[in-house]
Symmetry: C2
């Protein structure tokens, strides 16, 4: 059973994770996180030495969740093609949030990466993880030495689909684009 302190820390992290996504990092104040999480903002500096440190922990949490998801898909899905398609389906499952707030990692990276190179590198780890994992799946298909380029292309297309889904808010076209990405992978 978690101690009260662990619960507070977890509540801060969960709330920060959500608000950084929904409102953006710079537009989310400690005040906001305190109000939503119920944890007084005075406590924040007991758990995190700065707002940047809080962000860093949020990113680490996201990285960890991605790792778990990817290992889960490797365990539960038997063919590389199924796994690639499952990865694409992230956009289908989260389409409502993506249309409202964009891709969590894409939008965060673009916002903070312009001024905080260190954070940008942290965020890039998640993209590298995703690209490498897809590259491994592609290698199991018969794509020769094209695996790195195709993996990069797949993540790029998912990012592009997310940006346009956010900006244009056109559900039909967004869905159409995802379907085309899936068809492209299925045809490999």
């Amino acid at each position: 059973m978690p101690t009260k302190g662990e619960q507070s820390k977890e509540r801060i992290l969960e709330t920060a994770n959500r608000l950084f996504y929904e409102r953006g990092f710079n537009s989310t104040s400690f005040q906001d996180i305190a109000e939503v999480s119920g944890v007084p903002k005075g406590n924040f500096y007991f758990y995190f030495k700065s707002k940047g440190a809080l962000l860093e922990t949020v990113i680490e949490g996201r990285l960890e969740r991605f790792r778990e998801a990817l290992t889960g898909w490797e365990r539960d899905l038997s063919t590389p093609k199924e796994r690639l398609l499952r990865c694409i389906d992230m956009l289908v499952n989260d389409r409502a949030e993506i249309e409202r707030y964009g891709c969590p990692m894409g939008s965060l990276s673009l916002e903070i990466g312009k001024q905080q190179p260190e954070m940008k590198k942290q965020a890039a780890k998640i993209f590298r993880l995703l690209v490498d994992w897809n590259e491994n799946q592609l290698r199991e298909l018969d794509v020769g030495d094209q695996a790195p380029a195709l993996a990069h292309r797949l993540i790029a297309r998912l990012q592009g689909a997310s940006v346009l889904a956010f900006v244009l808010e056109d559900k039909i076209r967004a869905r159409e684009e995802i379907d085309d990405i899936k068809a492209w992978i299925e045809a490999l």
Copy 2:
């Protein structure tokens, strides 16, 4: 010849346009714009009634420049395929800035669109303009009723390539992705 007032307004706009791109909207203060432009901060409210109004004018300026560029390409390039390729070449020409700051419109939309729906709509106009223009070019090719979907796909792929170029900072893969987009268009 522009009056002195027009020069000040223009200097504020140019500087804001650049800093909003390089540092992000929320991370750019009037103080910053004043220092870089040389125009004292006290003057800003003579020309713009708020920071949001300044942003709006910046976006309008970008929209206008896009319109001019697109009409220029229609005038100077004779075939639709050349025009589409010229559009893609934006990423090649601006690759250094895109790697450092992302796509100007993509990153701005994602940052401000989460909290300012009105500004998001303004920014979306530029994307609509681009998609529609490319759709017109595609219609002149023999793509049947695929023009809308292909135009959407082209802009999505350009956005995706920009995001990954920014996040991963991998010049080789970024170039490879652009080349693939070009090859795809050329094969149409």
